[in-house]
Symmetry: C5
Subunit: 355 residues, 5 copies
Amino acid sequence: MFREVRKRASKVGQPPGTATFTGLKKSFVPRMTMVTYSEQQYHVATGTTLEECTSGKISNGLTWINIQGLQNVGLIQQLAALYKIHPLTIEDILNVQQRPKVEEFENYEFITLKIFLWQPKKLRFAAEQLSILLGKDFVISFQESDTPIFKNINERLCSESTQRLRQQGSDYLAYRLIDTVVDYYFLVLEGLGNQIDKIEEKIISDPAPQNTRTIYRLKRQMLFLRKSIWPMREVISHLLQGEEKLISAFTRLYMRDLYDHVVQAIDTIETFRDMLSNLLDVYLSSLTNRMNEVMKTLTIIATIFIPMTFLASLYGMNFKYMPELSWHYGYYIVLGIMLALAVGMLIYFWRKKWI
Amino acid sequence: MFREVRKRASKVGQPPGTATFTGLKKSFVPRMTMVTYSEQQYHVATGTTLEECTSGKISNGLTWINIQGLQNVGLIQQLAALYKIHPLTIEDILNVQQRPKVEEFENYEFITLKIFLWQPKKLRFAAEQLSILLGKDFVISFQESDTPIFKNINERLCSESTQRLRQQGSDYLAYRLIDTVVDYYFLVLEGLGNQIDKIEEKIISDPAPQNTRTIYRLKRQMLFLRKSIWPMREVISHLLQGEEKLISAFTRLYMRDLYDHVVQAIDTIETFRDMLSNLLDVYLSSLTNRMNEVMKTLTIIATIFIPMTFLASLYGMNFKYMPELSWHYGYYIVLGIMLALAVGMLIYFWRKKWI
Amino acid sequence: MFREVRKRASKVGQPPGTATFTGLKKSFVPRMTMVTYSEQQYHVATGTTLEECTSGKISNGLTWINIQGLQNVGLIQQLAALYKIHPLTIEDILNVQQRPKVEEFENYEFITLKIFLWQPKKLRFAAEQLSILLGKDFVISFQESDTPIFKNINERLCSESTQRLRQQGSDYLAYRLIDTVVDYYFLVLEGLGNQIDKIEEKIISDPAPQNTRTIYRLKRQMLFLRKSIWPMREVISHLLQGEEKLISAFTRLYMRDLYDHVVQAIDTIETFRDMLSNLLDVYLSSLTNRMNEVMKTLTIIATIFIPMTFLASLYGMNFKYMPELSWHYGYYIVLGIMLALAVGMLIYFWRKKWI
Amino acid sequence: MFREVRKRASKVGQPPGTATFTGLKKSFVPRMTMVTYSEQQYHVATGTTLEECTSGKISNGLTWINIQGLQNVGLIQQLAALYKIHPLTIEDILNVQQRPKVEEFENYEFITLKIFLWQPKKLRFAAEQLSILLGKDFVISFQESDTPIFKNINERLCSESTQRLRQQGSDYLAYRLIDTVVDYYFLVLEGLGNQIDKIEEKIISDPAPQNTRTIYRLKRQMLFLRKSIWPMREVISHLLQGEEKLISAFTRLYMRDLYDHVVQAIDTIETFRDMLSNLLDVYLSSLTNRMNEVMKTLTIIATIFIPMTFLASLYGMNFKYMPELSWHYGYYIVLGIMLALAVGMLIYFWRKKWI
Amino acid sequence: MFREVRKRASKVGQPPGTATFTGLKKSFVPRMTMVTYSEQQYHVATGTTLEECTSGKISNGLTWINIQGLQNVGLIQQLAALYKIHPLTIEDILNVQQRPKVEEFENYEFITLKIFLWQPKKLRFAAEQLSILLGKDFVISFQESDTPIFKNINERLCSESTQRLRQQGSDYLAYRLIDTVVDYYFLVLEGLGNQIDKIEEKIISDPAPQNTRTIYRLKRQMLFLRKSIWPMREVISHLLQGEEKLISAFTRLYMRDLYDHVVQAIDTIETFRDMLSNLLDVYLSSLTNRMNEVMKTLTIIATIFIPMTFLASLYGMNFKYMPELSWHYGYYIVLGIMLALAVGMLIYFWRKKWI
């Protein structure tokens, strides 16, 4: 969970703008997909080097380059040279522990955010970083891993020539990328919501010690989500409020909608957090309740039998001179006293509503 | 409770602006009511298709279309074409998991909010979505279900020709719709307030384990209400601060009043939340108190009788040579010691204020 | 406590601006006091109808009408007609569950706030609503009950011809009315503060279960006060920041002072809230402490005597062949072992600082 | 602690601007010190009446009047007449329950704040009010008591003719007065910090019930400090942001420094509050821990001996026909079973890590 | 931890601008490093007096003076005279208990912040103060101790003549100094994060009393970090928003990046705080859980054996006339009853899910 801090820490002493990949080494080979398109044309090329992709590209149109995997620092620096990307941007792209943010540079907007993917089997989410460079006629997206979350968009770009996606500018494409990422947030929230529902049911019906740990784990995940989704609000609001340069009025309407989605995600996270806190309260009070019940059982049994046992022990003493022992009804009298004691206690407990 | 998240999640991968109804399938047939009126005239038509309703309408006047049930996507798209409604608006209307919001479009304001209806038998509230399109000479309202909450308004429109409602523009009609919705909030708050009153009384007089669960359920409902009513403040304040285009000075005064009502609802929700938290504290402290009492009872009985029982057991031993056993007053001496022990303990407890 | 919500709820379905009194029916007859005065003149008339009061009034001067009791809706509507009061204002005056607010209308400012009166015998406060209409040459105040809290001001108006009150405009009179109301807040805070002092002393010296309930009740009252006094800050700040139209520079200095008083009241409420929370913590920890002590007593007695009792029981067995029983010093050896056990335990507990 | 509320309450019904001293009656005679000085000249006079002080004053220079004790209302009203002080200011000076604030009047700024003096023997602080009137060529300071906290400043004014204090205007003198007061805050914070250090050490090493009460008392003092020091930030920031009229650019640099000191004091208070809350948590968890240990001891002893005692009692029964009793090795078999039970229990507890 | 408060307290009564070193006396001799450089030239000199360093400096270029150790007040005052430093700045540099801040003076910006160094062996961090004076052609940095954290920067200045550092102005150098300090924060956060990870693991697997104290110590350190890093945000945002005078557009991009780092550090601190609070909750609930288990064990054993022991004691009584004792199967009947009791209890506990 503290990957960020650790990696950042490992860079102490390096000058700013140094291009070092700070993610975990992945086993796959970084891939690059280059799509060039205009309203009429569409061309796609996939490869591991820049040269493989640039051949056959459409000359006048929009370019979308999607990098999957950041290990190939050389490739990224080639792109940097081609599109005049600031060294700080390259550093931020490679440093996968960024806080979501948007930064304006001379010829592009740099947007970085987190992709969350729900892993239904592990009951938790995986996180990876996505950086987007939005230029006048290009969009470059850098994914940390090779999950094909933008497959849909590529397919739509390819087939639907009459659609908005081909007609609109690079800003609309960038919007669609972010929108896809935000849609995935709701899958994660659904997964977590289901877990909260389950734990809620358990705690209400049969609270067990491991529930605390589940709540703790969920809270921890919530902290992490929160940290990454809250800044998204600023990011999108910044894109919305920016000058008209890059975001068109058309896209702006869609961005506004996206903003609402992010706010809804944040609302849901906050509600989840509140629910988890409330559940912990319910759990703790049920613990205390249970202990109350346990103690009550002990107290009732003990306070009924202890005096009786004392009486029995008393007449178990071996003193030579104990007149009661030789009484004919001594035994029955003692039994009667014991019965009276027990009944008295039971009445006392019943009055106190303990039984 | 997490309908929102789930439904939103089910839309991952769809392009924005896709018209899909995300609510639960309802068994009734969606209905449409079209009211056209001016200060002098009034005409109403109800049906399930657009054609049934448009015949006989007044040509120059205001139009209020109320849709009850959103399953008939076709009908809604016909309306969209007629009134030039943006695809994003249609998507938002059909996606019944919206956060309350207001959005300006070229020829209308799009307002979406939640209707809460108190169900006295189930002791909880039902929620449904209401979307309002406020145009210059039309108001279109989309209800998720067929509850007749706007019946009153229609009746007033019909009968009271001399009243404000017929004289004022579409903005006043929209205000009246929202005002009705906000009035219903107070019914829900009344219902919840009554439940809080009851649980308060119980906790003060006789706290029981199920109280925690009731408090939890109430808190959960509060969370949900809160999430939907807080944004209403922004919505109305946005309508108030907007340019003069759609909201007249006359209606503005009423809107300001409505704003106060929403703030009062929010205040009440926050007070309820605080009260529930305080009640939980009272409950928990009463639990601990009770355990204290139980433990005290056990301790008093046990500490009085355990030493006495020991003494009795001691003289119940079968050693051949135990001189005390043959003392003539041995038994009475032991009884005396026991009594002294018991009285001593009682004095000790009495001094400690345990009895 | 939830009067507000309930009454508001009872109005669902009524058009806005309907004049309905939502308070409790009071047994007294609503009274009206009309004071007309200028620097030189002063005239007062009291009655139950408008006609009784208007005769004999001074023609050119300021008018202060004080209504005590809102049951007579007819009277209030007469006034409304006379002073051109907006229907929404009338509705708000009669609906005694308002949140404190100030609203500008064409010819007056509408101020509504709460009066709190400390009831020393019941150890709680009574609340009633006060609405003030501040016009250029009139002030109309609507009290919910007939408590004579403005008696002082009337007397001063009558006697002190050389004083500020007669020289200044209607704004200064309105200021004096609000100032009086705010002064009463401090009486309520004093009453509550005394109760907190008492409960604090009790909890520190001898905590008892009912303390939680007292704290709960005080917290509840605090919630209510808070809800009504926080908005007062906005109200007065709004009056201060408004245009120069109604509030003169002279009165403004006094208003600023009043603002400070309200802030001080709010500060005190927040301090009280914090103290009550802290007190609850002290109480809960003293509860746990107490239980600790109870348990310790039980544990010490039980762990000392249980092993000894076992030993005694052991030699109380009736086996035929138990060699120890016939030893000459068997009894003394066992007594010795018991003593050693007891002393060992005592040392153990003493080391653990339990005794 | 609630002096404020009480005194304010006692003024209900008085018109605003009434000059009443609301502090406790002090036994000393109010004193007045008048210093007049310019860069070259310096004159000081001390007395109990205005006449005693004004004789011999320097004609063209700055005047600093320091009043110690507010009981002599007449003296203060003489000053008010001399310097044209607004009645509200006089009321605020005499009402020693002010919230720190700064108010602009026509010919002066009115600043009121709290002096806190640490009393090392009582381990708490004393509070008194200080009001400062800052005019173009005069500074008047009103202390509630006669503590000589400004002695230093007077000495410096007297001796150091080459120093800033004599060269600068009245604004710099006022700054020095406030700076002295803020410096004293740090003495109080040091005193409280030492106490927190001590209680921390105690709670970590050997938590005792009275710790809660100490924490409570410290929290209470913190609440009071907080209430008085937070507004200081606004006060100084207001002085900094005001127009250039009274505060020169030279003094402004010093004021900015003072602002930082106040923020640091606030930071420290907030840190102390957090620490006290954390300490309470530590204390409560150590309480629960302790109870755990107590219970564990009881449970281990009881669960080991209770079954053994039962067995012993079993063979202590006096039935005529109990075959085991006459077995030759019966006693040893029972002893063996008991031993096995005890060892089994011990293993069980050891596995559970209870021992 | 309260060094600040104490040292500040010791200065009460001194006039502002007094140059007194408030840190702990260090054993090393303060050192001064003077670097003068331009794009082509570089000269460095180290010594303990100003004269040692100024000889041989480059005439037209940038000057960076780094002071390590603040004990030599004379040296610092020499510098003050040379660079026209305001007395308040000197006071703030020497008073090592500053809150991070930035202040504009006529010819320089004064920046003060905290350096945190992680001490892996002690598992905590050391704090020292760093003050930076940023002038048009000079940067003077004052370190409290002699840790060589700026060694890297000096080396880079020396060797890499073609690099940004030599080409850019004094603003970029200052940025690099602050950037280095902020990088060290991440080392501290990594160290604390590791500790949180460890304590988390312990609490989940095997909670022990000392965990609370560890959490408390971590929380305390967090409080201290928080207090010093939060203001850093303001500091850098102030530098970013200032006029163009000192910070060039080039450096501004880097500053923006630095701002993000600080925000990330703050986010991490807040997350850590939340995690520690959650861990405390987990720990407390596990404590209660444990006690529940302990109590359950006791209750089960006690309630099973206490009634059986009573029965056994009953037939251990020595009454002469107890008919059951002479029954032939009396012993077996009693054994049967005991068995039935025990089994009944076990079923009861099993149903209650206690076993």
